[in-house]
Amino acid sequence: MLSLIFFYVLAAILLAAATGVIVARNPVYSVLYLVLAFVTSAVLWLLLEAEFLAIALVLVYVGAVMVLFLFVVMMLDVERAERQASFTRYAPVGAALAFVVAGELIAAFWLKSRSMPMTSFQAPRDAGYSNTRELGAVLYTQHVYAFELAAMILLLAIVTAIVLTMRRRPGLKAQDISAQVAVRAEDRVRLVSMPAETDE
């Protein structure tokens, strides 16, 4: 009963936030509504006892992806962006995309509903159930190759991004900190001994 109330309240917030993303005039508000939508769906997943996925959603999308979105959107010239935004111009494209996505979702639900009942509630698990453990068991057995492959691709992406910055432009007068630290007095000061000058 209580979880039902929670579900409907959160679902209402989620839908309102999702609407806010597209109707907000200020792009920063759009991003913030999207953040709210992600957080609400994470809480909905918590109601489904998918704690690992819920926290991962917050960590990846809210904690990393949306921060970068906000970072970029904040630097936009908001006044100009508001003037240029024309809802009607992009409406046909958006509507077409929405229809395609909705069609796909309905097809997916229809296919799923033939193999398993969609309307019945799943009984809550007992306290010892660990969603994290279950997920790990599937990821490291059944899907181990796909999982390892995805992990390697992501690692490669981060290493590559760092390697790209490792280039050295010629003619750049940058400090070499280790050279500065390692310098000794003999490298900078040359002590010469010369005979003292005399008047003769």
Partner: protein, 357 residues
Amino acid sequence: MIEQLTNLLDFLPPVLLTIVVSAAKIVPLVVVLILCVAFLTLAERKVIGAMQSRVGPNRVGPRGLGQPFADVIKLLLKEVILPARSNRILFLIAPLLSIIPALAAWAVVPLFPGFAIADIDAGLLYVLALTSLSVYGVILAGWATNSKYALLGAMRSAAQIVAYEIAMGFALVGVLMAGGSLNLGQIVAAQAGGPAQWFWLPLFPLFVVYFISGVAETNRAPFDVAEGESEIVAGFHVEYSGVAFAVFFLAEYANMILIAALTAVLFLGGWESPFAGPLYAFLDGGVLEFIRHDSLLWLSAKIAVFLFCFLWFRATFPRYRYDQIMRLGWKVFIPVTIVWIFVEGAMVVMQVGPWSA
């Protein structure tokens, strides 16, 4: 104690009972945390004062102990100024967004053997998710203020936090491999057996990277370019005054305590006593027997050590230049952590160190 409370109040409906019992755990923790923050600000001024051959605050109360309360009363009585043309809603929400994650993350921190407010299985992930949320407060404050200096501070902070979060995440992967669990209580339990078994030794590079990244994440000196008094006045909180500023201040210090606690839990055995081994059996029966038991005392002592390091860094190091911060985060810390994860993998396979059993 919690069981007694549950038995005492079992006439209540279960929903209400859950709320009351949770509140009985949460409220004392939050009160203690806020008191810790108050005295941490005093400790900071005293410690840095001592390091600079000054006395520090000594006017309010005996030995200056009333200073934090005087500061709080001063800040509460001041006017909250809303800058013209700022975004009011976001301007006022931003401080809350920075304090909430700093306090909420404490829910999973194991305080003493067998106790955390929420003993969840994905605890480590929860901590990582919440610490990554604290950046929103800073970014939104900078943007909502509608000032160049605040926006610059927010930009710097966002880039810095994103950079150091990756190194932090990789350091946590190492802890995860060593502890064999995402549950913080089980990670502490995996470190049983004295200081040599704590993870700081086999994971030493990750320990150093984690703590320094923690300093960077909390925007503390020498990584405090988001405030950068010498260039951008006070950065993201330049226009904040009164209570709104106090909340940012509280969040910064609460985050410091959180990072210190997490470093202690993940790398220094949390509540484990360093004198637990049979070597120190001679202490049994004496007045000092209590130091052989695992307790909140040891967690507090370890947190205090790290907090002292925070203050020490601030008194010692000059502020980093911004490009050097980025270089340290991306080009030094991330490669170090990746290499050490591979080394750790090799150690697990070869069964050296803590994996020899």
